[in-house]
């Protein structure tokens, strides 16, 4: 198996796999374990994966990552919030400043808030903003409708904006 094939697949998809695992496990070490194991399995099936169409390959990698992450989750028997974010009937206009003026502390708050989001919202946010995937790609990967993905990202974004607003008030 040419090392180049593994390298190109790793370069293209390692971020997606890592953040998929992280969004489920919220642990860097666990997410790394999952990423490693996904690619070890990919190595075993490289003869088939090398010729696979991009979308199918990505879906295969994603599915293996989710399964492995769920495996760890079950073994650890962690409790994670499964609630939904309420749909915002009106968008409270918050004068969102430029990112450059956002303090490091506020950025840390936002990162922590992302980690506290319910699974499906956190996954959508991480795949979109951390792995640079489009809503259409995320929809294809996760099996959700594109509109649903957009809705999840939108609700998560509003929640994060509220947190930033609260944070400013408290300062």
């Amino acid at each position: 198996m040419p090392q180049r094939d593994l390298e190109s697949i790793y370069t293209a998809h390692s971020q997606m796999i890592y953040w998929t695992a992280y969004s489920l496990l919220r642990s860097d070490s666990d997410a790394k374990d999952v990423t490693q194991n996904v690619f070890l399995r990919a190595i075993k099936h490289m003869g088939k994966l090398a010729d696979m169409e991009d979308g199918r390959l990505k879906a295969w990698l994603y599915r293996v990552a989710v399964n492995l992450a769920l495996d760890i989750k079950r073994k650890q028997k962690r409790e994670y919030p499964v609630d939904e974010l309420p749909e915002q009937e009106s968008t409270a206009l918050y004068d969102m400043p430029e990112p450059s003026v956002i303090t490091a502390e506020q950025r840390r708050m936002v990162r922590e808030a992302i980690e506290r989001l319910p699974d499906i919202y956190r996954e959508a946010v991480m795949l979109h903003y951390y792995s640079n995937m489009s809503c259409a790609d995320i929809a294809q990967l996760t099996g959700a409708a594109e509109g649903t993905v957009k809705s999840r990202i939108s609700r998560a974004r509003i929640r994060l904006m509220e947190l930033l607003k609260e944070g400013e008030k408290n300062d």
Binding site: Y18, K44, Y62, V66, Y129, Y130
Partner: protein
Amino acid sequence: MTDNMDRLLFDIGEEANAQVDFDGMYASLLAQKANKRAAANRRIRYMGMAAACVILLGIASVLPGGLKLAKTESEAAPTAEAPAAPAPMAEEGRMADGAILENAVANACDSCVEEEFEEAVAEEAPAEEAVAEETAAEESAPAAGVGGGDACLINADTGMFEIGIPKEGFEQYLKDNYYGIIVIPFERSGIPEGSADISVTLCENTAVWNTGSGVYYVEIKAVGSAEEFAGILRSACQ
């Protein structure tokens, strides 16, 4: 507002990625791959050495009798110096047994070595037979399964094994009877088109299992061949 939020979140994403050592993970992955290959090569060497030892022991056990039989056939009468020898017919029987033992050991060890070699080579070269079998299984399999309705097949590198249809309690049966199995059901939705909806991992072999009657991801921790594993799974099937 939204644009600024987007920019902030993308910035945060970039910072998060910068904190993850993706290059280090890749290096570790290559090291693990090399270690697995080295371990597989060591197993082949040890199997060969073990086979050679057994053969030598087998030969050694019959050699004194063999030499004595040759002397008996070539000389008219035994000499005074020759030690007392058992009857020639008995010696021939021992030689035949030894030859059978030697052949049996050689054949068994050859197949073991060959299987280990195939496993090691399969890591590097595309497993064309397995791919062809899996492709044929996928192409011929209806959504409900292959082999006459919902029959399950394990498609391992060493062959195709039919095990039947998992019956109710399959997961619990495996957990109760086969130590080290991790059975994780995963959702049928989202599985790539054409892929099996059950993945069976057997030690160093990964098998793809087509079925329409259940979705499980099973990982075997103990050492075993795909055929042995298929035998275990058959008892849990209809």
